[in-house]
């Protein structure tokens, strides 16, 4: 099958085309401060599409404990969330819902594309693919890609660190030591 065209026009959905009020206090220092606050209290949306979502749940649970990095409040409503983790396979049927959820999130907002499915169609990117969107970035703008099938929870955490770096310009957490052996 030919590559699937996106369901909604792309221009409508790019980060730039979204309308956001100018900040009330437009001082760089204030903005930087706010950015740090934002990056340390990312609220992801409770939203899983396939097997990758299991790994996302594991990331939120006690063992990997995403709360340590300020991102544990999974919100059940897009209106309260500022990060969308697209965890899993986006089918053609699901695509309009994904786009709508993204549009319902208040800005500033970010998207993490988790897993090969969401990045490129992953295992479904085959000749006879008829129902899977090959890359959620054909629908909505994506900030961080976390590859893997599924990515380990550490991978998703690393994705969050990357997002925090995007927002604040700085990596906040130590880099894990390389394990020999």
């Amino acid at each position: 099958m030919a590559a699937q065209g996106s369901v909604v026009q792309k221009e409508m959905l790019t980060a730039g085309a979204h309308y956001m009020d100018p900040p009330i206090v437009n001082i760089q220092l204030a903005q930087d401060l706010l950015d740090v606050c934002r990056s340390m209290s990312l609220w992801p949306m409770t939203f899983g599409l396939a097997c990758c979502a299991i790994e996302m749940m594991a990331t939120g649970m006690a063992r990997f404990d995403m709360a340590r990095f300020g991102a544990e409040v999974f919100r059940p409503s897009p209106r309260q969330a500022d990060v969308m983790i697209v965890a899993g396979t986006v089918t053609k049927k699901m695509a309009p819902a994904v786009v709508r959820l993204y549009e319902q999130m208040p800005g500033p907002k970010w998207v993490i594309s988790m897993g090969n499915c969401a990045i490129s169609g992953g295992p479904f990117k085959i000749k006879d693919n008829y129902n899977v969107i090959e890359g959620v970035d054909t629908l909505i703008p994506v900030d961080v890609y976390v590859p893997g099938c599924p990515p380990r929870p550490e991978g998703l955490l690393e994705g969050f660190f990357q997002l925090q770096r995007l927002i604040t310009g700085k990596r906040w957490w130590p880099v894990a030591a390389e394990v020999k052996g």
Partner: protein, 175 residues
């Protein structure tokens, strides 16, 4: 099972090898008999496992699996319908759960289940209402006798027997 089918004009009833097929009985039916048979099975406390179709050279073979928890007797009802008019009565009025199975089968093969209350795409998106991804190409399509085994026949009419005829001849010549 056999008492259950009394009074229903079946096309072919056969015992199946449980080890290789996982079922106890295979029953070929005409499309018009499916609702009646489903009702009988419902009254005998069978539950519906699944409904799906096979795209084969002879047409579409629509399969219904039924099972029962207290007796180890898995039954498959097989209905062969033609490609020109792939229509079959719906059993959603007897087994509510069949509604979604039938919708899925419609999505994938384009089989029209007459009487299904809500025959809109279930898994496919609405734009693809006329696109049936599991239809095979001529090259890949197989004959029924290459896919299925008739099993130990109890009663069978000529037509169904003819479908399997060659395969059995081959098996005989192997022996």
């Amino acid at each position: 099972m056999l008492q259950l089918l009394e009074g229903i004009p079946t096309q072919c009833v056969a015992k199946q090898d449980k080890v290789s097929t996982g079922r106890a009985w295979s029953v070929f039916l005409a499309p018009a008999q499916i609702v009646k048979t489903a009702r009988k099975l419902y009254e005998a406390e069978y539950s519906l496992e699944d409904v799906f179709a096979l795209d084969i050279e002879e047409g579409f073979l629509v399969l219904y699996h039924f099972n029962r928890w207290n007796v180890d007797e898995r039954v498959v009802l097989r209905v062969l319908i033609s490609k020109d008019n792939p229509t079959i009565p719906s059993i959603a009025s007897i087994f509510d759960g069949a509604e979604w199975h039938e919708r899925e089968t419609r999505d994938f093969h384009g089989v029209n289940f007459e009487g299904n209350p809500n025959l809109v795409p279930l898994l496919m998106c609405v734009e693809d209402v006329d696109f049936h991804p599991l239809l095979k190409t001529d090259k890949k399509r197989k004959q029924i006798k290459d896919l299925l085994n008739l099993g130990e026949v109890v009663s069978c009419n000529k037509e169904i027997e003819a479908l399997f005829a060659e395969a059995e001849a081959e098996v005989a010549s192997d022996a």
